[in-house]
Symmetry: C2
DNA sequence: CGTACCTTTGATAGAGTTCAAGAACGGTGG
DNA sequence: CCACCGTTCTTGAACTCTATCAAAGGTACG
């Protein structure tokens, strides 16, 4: 039942040899791993930026070598206002992004896992407009923006950015039209889907974020999130123990999300 | 006082000779204007996609010639699920974009005026994920996606898309953390800013959308929007008469938005 | 000039926030 | 290994904001 669920371990892809942390040479240059990574050797490439490059483009891929960087839990990958010069592909771990309003209020705008690309908000103004913080010890590939001159990579970048725009539409929908329980159901189903794509169990996982961060992302108070988790559990939809979640009834959750028609 | 406010007329840039509607040859090929447009002759180019191309790139700009298309009020520029093959730059008029949920609920995700680029949500999947509908008789330039191979235009496209991502962050912030009155204040100030950039009055303008559409965009009911307009008027912040808005007190509106600290 | 749509305003109800307090967990140091 | 502390989570109760329902008035378009 707990087959491929990793408890408090980092979200490394299942088929991946555990590369992170302990078996990497200790010498680092300000958080940048000494040994760079070849895209061809990376088992994230079906999710990552070069995704979609045909097999015939293997030689192109072969040229792509990126420096890696570790970001420890609680540290930031970049900060709002910081200068932009590269994108980041998450290799392992888990991040949250957030924006801060003038008066201090902040909101989590996304959670990001292996294979996802970060930093695109900086392209337009040459400086980032959000904070990105690791929710567990994580590792990213640094993709210098200058490298993206390559025409085929440009296309890929367009696609990645476009999908991000579509994702944002979904979040707006969630925040603008859904009720609290619908938002949380949508959130859980979305997480589930993304875990599956990375070889994890669709039904059992550990939340990397706090109730407060979930609430911020969903436009709810942390108490409402907590209450809804309890309610979902009472209704037999899920099991919750702190950050450990089991989804028991996917269709049930889906019907909560689509509409509470009972 | 009503200096450069256009009443029910389309939102054409002030310095622009009124090109739309009546002084264009009537013959059209399914909504596509017969005479194409040169970017060099377009006075939107400082806002539009080629924005940021240096003067030295004038010859590059000179090559850019786009077909125009008219979209009458209530008609759609594209629909969710429709195949993607080009982007659109708004030349004149006003659009709304919206997404529809499976159960029929829909939400307005943006309002778009001259110089803004539409259609980027289609790049990732080759089909659009939103509907775009003209709120008044409008005109767009059709920018075939294939044309964007041009390296300099690619950079521009990245910037435009990135700014769109940043805009989305702002909307999420608005929907996730702001109270109703803060949302409406932010909305009005945002409109004002965009009108200014197009040569219109910052303080006086006509809303092109209904209360319901504003409410949908802001995650509020149309009644709440209406009530807040009335309240803002009572508080001396604005003047409202149906769709005609005067902003009387920008700092006041800003303080409503930043925080209701009184 | 009439009709359909849009807007305003009131009354009511409900969803979610806020405030508060206790419980569970996780990491740290003795 | 255990006790401690801070953080996170849960749950209750009261309140607030906003949605909903309803009805009347206004506009604009055909």
């Amino acid at each position: 039942m707990q087959a491929n669920t990793l408890r408090t371990e980092p979200t490394v892809m299942r088929p991946m040899k555990v590369v992170a942390r302990n078996d990497v040479p200790k010498r680092r240059i300000s958080g940048v791993a000494a040994c760079p990574t070849h895209c061809t050797a990376c088992n994230l490439r079906e999710l990552c930026l070069p995704c979609g490059l045909a097999a015939s483009d293997a030689e192109l891929l072969g040229d792509l070598v990126y420096t890696r960087k570790r970001v420890k839990r609680g540290e930031s990958l970049y900060r709002s206002g910081g200068s932009f010069d590269s994108l980041y592909a998450v290799r392992s771990g888990f991040f949250k992004s957030s924006v801060v309003l003038e008066d201090g209020r902040d909101q989590v705008t996304g959670f990001h896992m292996a294979g996802e690309v970060l930093g695109m908000d900086g392209i337009g103004t040459d400086s980032h407009s959000s904070d990105v913080i690791a929710l567990e010890d994580s590792e990213v590939c640094i993709i210098p923006y200058a490298h993206l001159e390559e025409p085929r990579l440009q296309r890929q970048l367009h696609k990645v950015m476009s999908r991000e725009l579509v994702r944002d539409q979904g979040v707006m929908m969630l925040l603008g039209t859904m009720k609290a329980e619908e938002r949380l159901a949508a959130f859980l189903l979305n997480l589930s889907t993304r875990f599956v794509a990375r070889g994890f169990s669709p039904s059992e996982f550990h939340l990397r974020m706090t109730r407060e961060e979930i609430g911020s992302y969903l436009g709810l108070s942390l108490e409402t999130v907590s209450r809804l988790f309890s309610r979902f559990q009472d209704d037999g939809l899920i099991t919750v123990q702190q950050k450990h979640i089991c989804i028991l009834d996917v269709p049930g959750l889906r019907s909560v999300m689509v509409h509470d028609n009972d």
